[in-house]
């Protein structure tokens, strides 16, 4: 199996196993629309007293997504809602296999 296919299958398995739903809110590239995405919450830079991705929300979330397969792709300045809590998209760190970690900071 080609390496790229292995990566695709791995990404799909990651999302199927650990993925949580999130909503991309009115991105700059397509304002006025919302898009459902699935991401995997990674360990934050600093642990907080709440569960990342919970309805109570945390201050900072690192959300891994299958970036190259998302349309539209979230960009810095967009907003993402997880479990009803809104976050700003800060840095977008794309890896060489097309996944990306979105560094989110709570805004509400």
């Amino acid at each position: 199996m080609p390496w790229t296919d292995s990566v695709e299958r791995a990404h799909a398995q990651f999302l199927a196993t650990w993925g949580i739903p999130a909503i991309l809110l009115s991105p700059a590239s397509q304002p006025g629309h919302t898009f459902s995405i699935t991401g995997v919450i990674k360990n934050p830079g600093m642990e907080e007293e709440l569960l990342p991705g919970s309805a109570a929300g945390v201050s900072a979330v690192r959300l891994w997504v299958d970036y190259k397969n998302i349309t539209p792709q979230p960009l810095m300045g967009d907003q993402i809602s997880i479990d009803g809590v809104n976050y700003d998209v800060g840095k977008v760190e794309v890896d060489i296999e097309g996944g990306a970690v979105l560094k989110l900071r709570r805004n509400g």
């Binding site: 700059a28 600093m46 201050s59 800060g90 840095k91 805004n107």
Partner: protein, 158 residues
């Protein structure tokens, strides 16, 4: 010596009256808040800075130094000002950390024309502050935030 917690609260109250700063906080002055080192109630300062919402301003006592002025011993209270800016995407015009620090140090306080550098934050027990300083920092997620410093001499020993 004046209780530094009282100074922190006074700085917060003064900052909350800066109209442009309130606007930068999305109109919510409660986002300009004090940190009071209350073990068991407050999280540690490092975590409070991490958890500071964007936008938000956190004011905390950093320490008090002994100093001399004109032959007399005085106390100089150092107050830290931690700032996270709101998402500027779509804002017209966008404002950066440079602008928000200018607003903090030059915006009129208490409904007047004088800025926070020109007033006694707690008259008559505090002198006007020394020239404030600020430094840019980067957090664990690679996002910027500011740490400003107000050093405020105390008049006498209260």
């Amino acid at each position: 010596m004046l209780n530094p917690a009282v100074i922190v609260d006074a700085v917060v109250a003064a900052l909350q009256t800066i109209a442009d700063l309130a606007t930068a906080m999305n109109g919510d002055i409660e986002r300009i808040a004090a940190f009071h080192d209350q073990y068991g109630l407050n999280v540690p300062l490092a975590l409070a800075i991490h958890e500071l919402k964007a936008p938000g301003v956190l004011v905390a006592w950093e320490g008090t130094q002994a100093a001399t002025f004109n032959g007399a011993d005085i106390l100089r209270h150092q107050i830290g000002i931690y700032v996270r800016l709101a998402n500027q995407a779509g804002r017209v015009p966008p404002a950066g950390y440079d602008s928000i620090w200018w607003t903090i140090t030059n915006g009129g306080v208490n409904g007047g024309a004088q800025n926070i550098r020109q007033i006694q934050i707690i008259p008559p027990t505090l002198e006007i502050m020394d020239t404030p300083s600020v430094q840019r920092h980067t957090d664990a997620d690679g996002l910027d935030f500011l740490i400003g410093s107000f050093v405020i001499p105390e008049i006498g020993d209260n």
